[in-house]
Amino acid sequence: MTSTAVGAPRKPGEPGKPRRPRVTSGAAGPSGRKPSGSLRRKITDNLTAYGFLAGGLACFALFSWYPAIRAIQLAFQRTGGQSESGGTEWAGFDNFTTVFRDPEFAAAWRNTLQFTLLALLIGFVVPFLLALLINEMRHAKTFFRLAVYLPVMIPPVVTALMWQWFFDPGPGLFNELLRALHLPTSNWTNGEDTAMVSLVLVATWANLGGTVLIYLAALQGIPGELYEAAELDGANLWQRIRHVTIPQTRFVILMLMLLQIIATMQVFVEPFIITGGGPGDSTITVLYLVYKYAFVYNNYGSACALSVLLLAFLAAFSALYLRLTRHHG
């Protein structure tokens, strides 16, 4: 995100263009700005600009900036039913200790990290390989793109309910397929050991389309001469991937990895709908626990304390992402 480039006078893509081209009406003078009265002019220009901005900024202020501050504030407060007076009072670090003492706290973090790690292992290599494969195809490219992106368009709730039905250990599609192939069946989301992996499969299936498309765009940007040169040097297929494709797409790979970590650490819909956090506490996630604190126990302070912990954890990845995009841009 090159917000630094905004200050540049004109877009750099058009070199050699004169600063003041073809002034048609002579009366306005060069670039239409007179030195006298320029302050008043500037003020009205700015007022107009902020008039255009007002509606959007109000929404950002109400639903992004203010809640971000309020999240931190609430984390140190007791509200409503939690406080003795019934109003809002400062609670110090009490909300944090409440959260730390909760036996589900450790489970939620363990499960979320496990989910993120598994999603990285499965959901990270697979899209790259699929993009490589599609990029080599000389036919039906549109079909591949449509097919891979179709699951992304299906509403996540439908995807979750659909997979819940597929996972059914009895008449579910997956066990039926395994039986048809004479393979051992699985408990899928009903087993404590397999529940989380099953949810990772759902999330990967539902989300990899976007990643594949972005990789494809990156792959198409690789100059063909690099492959030709590598081939002349005797590089085989694997060496060409290793020494041309991966270095050339390294930036995109890194970006998507960070974005994926940030997204998967906030997993909610799949465990909420498919497993309800179970069996036991094997699929409760951090965001699920936030939801429970806020909307089941009505304890907004502790919910925000947990949110702030998640925020702090993800801020590290966000900062890295920002640094890399800045650096690259």
Partner: protein, 297 residues
């Protein structure tokens, strides 16, 4: 893209290699396997869902399953439609998505135009503050955003059970605003300057010059805006405690426990049809938008 002139850009595998007999045989083998693999992995589950909704309850639970329904029960769909009151649920969803689209198109476009072309003082700081929200995980804002919707500061209104709770937060979408601003940045400035010299005010310039040149990006942002509302689950679950006003995704989950499986699956198919139709109609724009907007390169 220069790629259009030649039939295919040089990729990993050299075109020379593919012209040999062995190369061609390998290519067609890999191609067939890839088509089969993609069909099985991405299309078969959807086929299974659509046909599952045509089966009778007994056939749906039968083991081993039938791969094509023995009897086609189209009435599952009509039954799901009336039992879930899908007409009302879909009307709710359209109202929420349509309003969110309108608000985003008007307010985000105006804001992006101001930041890109009118360049007020502190414009860069404002843009920075907007982009910074991309770095704040949405889940961290969940509770305070909900509390804001319950009691809006200064106004004191309660937005619960009203579509405003969907419309207004949807405008605070930094990604769409960034897409618009970046597109406006690339519009030639001299046309706008010439119009300004001829006396066209900022609104006329936006309406007659910027918007007609921005159809592609407006299309992409429109699709993203509508699809996002259609797909969202957690936020409408929180702001619509009233079941009569809930959108499709919330209604599906609420009724999933009480509805017979065949009807539920039929309702799931109906819920997917609009977004899939939008995707198939605008696939070129959507794919271009994802490829270009996902990561800046």
């Amino acid at each position: 893209m220069a790629a259009k002139e030649t039939t295919h850009v040089r990729t990993l595998v050299s075109p020379m290699r593919l012209r040999t007999r062995r190369g061609r045989a390998t290519y067609w083998t890999v191609f067939t396997l890839t088509v089969a693999g993609f069909t099985f992995a991405f299309l078969f589950p959807i086929y299974w869902m659509v046909t599952g909704a045509f089966k009778s309850p007994d056939e749906l639970l039968q083991s081993p399953p039938t791969y094509v329904p023995e009897e086609w029960h189209a009435d599952n769909y009509s039954e799901a439609w009336s039992r879930m009151d899908l007409a009302r649920v879909l009307r709710n969803t359209v109202l929420q998505a349509g309003g969110a689209w309108l608000f985003q198109i008007v307010l985000c476009t105006a804001a992006a135009y101001a930041l890109s072309k009118l360049k007020p003082v502190f414009g860069q700081i404002v843009m920075g503050a907007i982009l910074a929200t991309l770095m704040v995980p949405a889940s961290a804002l969940l509770v305070p955003k909900y509390l804001t919707a319950v009691d809006v500061p200064f106004v004191g209104a309660n937005l619960l059970n009203t579509p405003w709770a969907i419309w207004l937060p949807s405008v605070a979408n930094a990604f769409n605003l960034y897409l618009l601003k970046r597109f406006f940045d690339q519009l030639p400035s001299d046309v706008l300057e010439a119009a300004a010299i001829d006396g066209a005010g900022p609104l006329r310039r936006l309406w007659y010059i910027v918007l007609p040149m921005s159809r592609p990006v407006l299309g992409v942002v429109s699709i993203f805006a509508v699809v996002a509302v259609w797909q969202d689950f957690l936020w409408p679950l929180l702001v619509y405690p009233d079941t009569d006003k809930q959108p499709i995704s919330v209604a599906l989950v609420q009724l999933s426990a009480s509805l017979p499986l065949t009807y539920l699956i039929a309702a799931m198919v109906i819920a997917s049809i609009p977004v899939v139709a939008v995707f198939l109609l605008f696939q070129r724009h959507i794919i271009a938008g994802i490829s270009a907007g996902g990561v800046k390169e």
